[in-house]
Symmetry: D2
Subunit: 286 residues, 4 copies
């Protein structure tokens, strides 16, 4: 008999014995390691790991956590452990382009995205999304102008706090978060940038790509930081284009890339597969 | 009975009747169209085409060219026609990294690259390339310093002129051509840039890519222009990288991308598949 | 002033002068070629072309068609011409897996798929698709057993005839069409096979792929023929998998491949970019 | 101060405590884990791991091995430990197609392939490879007919034994090894199959691919087993083709895929990244 899985993630300064200490603590708590990834950044001497485990016999999460806290303390760890079945709460921010939203909703409905959707916030009214079944999802229409930006962001933040949102997804939100809100959402806000960063930043990247005559276009999912377009990259992908492709074709092809890059990033985050490493990410996906 | 193939390429302002006029001229010269590509750039109203044809019965290249010159004149064409079997003369410029050179030589030997190698120029002595069979290829060791750059480039240019070089390939040459030489080689000098332009320009792009934490790295083959890293892009490709990859891994993976991107670009150029379109290229490859 | 575009497609035995005759007919009808693709199959000596054109001045489609019919007759062509803006009528057949349906509906709503949806037929009741907005789309619930197959197919065929359906899309329909129905829908019925054909045929290909330990999985869009899994291939794509991937992971990754492969195939068909060449296809996409 | 790296690989029946026991043994031997991968096959209940470590202070490989042998015994492990810098001995078997050979030699010379080449065996004479620098590599010309096959294989086996060959690479060898030799080389003989298995088996797969009209072609590196084309797959890759591609074009594109797929497989094997899992492989590459 064994219990449901847990996900343990941690990072700490590297030194010999970390794995031995962690594995011993798990073993003594009757835990069985099911999947384990680790990475040792030789440049910064930092150590990162993600361990999926379950308990043999009865659940002993509390016992393990208590014992692990002591080990973690000695190793100066940042760490977290949570039941794998726990469903993080997502808040999706979206503007009028809804292809990423459609994809996230579809994957949420099929169970591919094991999260709860705590709400959708848009600067466009709910009619914009008439073809989507939003019947069970709280929707907040929060229009924004340069004058009302700080109030609007305060309203977003209130939603985040009230609903205990774990992850904010900018699913082509098209608005730049203030440095203030970006900082408050550090490490739990994912944006999809419609370009292969560091390629074309700023507005209309597909038109820039067309102007430059590139032969591949791409998209980038990254954590949001106050420094626009410079947040830690989670995932990128590309597709081939040719001289035949007009800017509209690039936009169309781009939609397919964006939705698959964003949904990969979101599901990796949900499954505890991403750990921040300064301005970069460690992604334990294979 | 039919003759060997010819390649006709042209560009001109777009207007109705171009294809009819060209096809009629070919037909009346007893030519049979084997492959045809065209592209109509609606932004600039320019028309581009590449036609491969042979003659039914006896060769009539001269007759066709004479007739076509009149048609071309009326349509304000830039055009060229040449036997497909004609082997362009390549000059390969290389520094100490020889992976692109190795690939080009291999493909030249197997006949995959239907060109003649008019020579290799390097700023490193021939011993650097001891493992390559250069027995039948003229090799010029032309070292260069900031003081001797103009003389060295004059020597390169003399090689180009003396040997009637059709295409100069910068196969990781690592030297920046002067604006003067770049201009003289306009449209017939291909460089391989070890980055997915417009991503990381300048020196050590793989180290830049590592620092930024990108998840894909790439390479770009482009025509050389006086404006470094801004020449018309011919081909690009990418490969996936992860947090595990050190800068050296990126360099290693990059070598594979570079050689395949460069050799595609060179063989398309040789086969008359690339037509310049301002700062972009039209590549007729499928 | 110029008119909307038309798409002309044709195939015929190859001989010199085809392009000249076609281009002349277009020019004399005041048509302007906007895009042109051709292919000469040297094995079968067959010639294939797709030409997009519009008229300079007033529309002259009727005049052109009359003139072209004579040319086409002389060259033993199979041909068709239609306004590009004409929206083909699609019938989507679907079983309980709705990811391809979701994608097609989304792309139809955004206008990316320029077709009309004449109906959806499923062997599952409409409740299965409760989250989709089917308010404006005729839905036929046509359950099927081995006993009722011929009646059910007769009902499908009636829908095809009554609604003048141009293209039947098997969007993970999971039922094998009878040879009879397959024959009647020849060249206008596209299936998505959840494997990289000719890899794993028959049932549960992702489980077969897992059992074999492949490192890439794929999907194949093809025209339906009486010979199951052997119809002319239109498009294929793959994604990387690893030892970590369970059969369920392959199924999940497969969904993404399937929907993008199917939607490419459908949109190329709609845009007249596919011509059958015996048991193969010519796809003019770049 | 720390020593050079070691690679520990093992597989065993899964049970709680494996990682703890291994990590403890490493820690007590003053070893520092630098990189670690593990995989738990839930279908077969088998556990696989690869650990790269070095020693803090002085090298203690002997002490570790002695201690680990006891642990391994208790856990019914198959295991191996070796210095990462140890260079396996490769024997390359090649027929007249030398593109994979050229690539392996190039990567061996640049140090990208950290192995020693113990020899090249070919059924074609050394003149076939005149353009390669084989000056420091033993070359055995071992022609083969159906009559002489067993003697020729005996000669190959003698080379393997005499030179203590660790890995035999069939770099487009084009001969089928007998079941007997295949069995003796189990787990240490890699073949490159010029098709995306299980697609087109047997002879001339690119011609089969052309006949079927596929839109992607591929290659497969796999361990050789007596059951031809059915050995455990290590790596696969694909490239896009179109109706324009003749069989010769597929062969040409195939060469690029083959060499990169084979060289990845060989370098992963050399770096201890592949563990056999019945008829499949576990590849720890990211």
């Amino acid at each position: 008999m064994s219990t449901d899985s847990y996900i343990l993630t941690f990072s700490c300064p590297n030194k010999p014995g970390i794995v031995a200490a962690v594995a011993k603590t798990l073993f003594e708590a009757s835990a069985n390691i099911q999947e384990s990834h680790q990475y040792d950044d030789v440049e910064t001497n930092a150590f990162f790991a993600r361990i999926r485990f379950n308990f043999v016999g009865t659940d002993n999460a509390e016992g393990f956590s208590k014992a692990f806290a002591i080990v973690a303390d000695g190793l100066q760890m940042k760490w977290a452990v949570r039941p794998r079945a726990a469903r993080p709460k997502l808040l999706i921010l979206v503007s009028r382009f809804d292809h990423c939203l459609a994809d996230l909703l579809y994957k949420w409905r099929t169970g591919e995205l094991s999260a709860d959707i705590a709400g959708i916030v848009s600067n466009h009214p709910i009619e914009t999304f008439a073809h989507h079944d939003l019947s069970t999802i709280p929707f907040d229409y929060l229009p924004v102008t340069s004058q009302t930006k700080s109030q609007q962001e305060a309203a977003i933040w209130k939603v985040v706090e009230d609903r205990k949102v774990d992850l904010v997804v900018l699913a082509r939100y098209m608005q730049i978060l203030s440095g203030n809100l970006a900082a408050k959402l550090a490490g739990r806000c994912i944006n999809i940038h419609h370009s292969f960063l560091p390629g074309f930043k700023g507005a209309k990247p597909y038109h820039q790509a067309h102007g430059r005559g590139v032969k591949l276009i791409g998209a980038t999912a990254h954590y949001v930081t106050p420094d626009l377009d410079e947040g830690p990259i989670i995932e990128q992908d590309v597709e081939r284009v040719s001289h035949h492709d007009e800017p509209d074709d690039l936009v169309r092809k781009g939609r397919d890339i964006e939705r698959r890059v964003l949904s990969r990033a979101v599901s990796w985050h949900i499954d505890g597969r991403i750990i921040l490493n300064g301005s970069k990410t460690v992604v334990f996906k294979d």
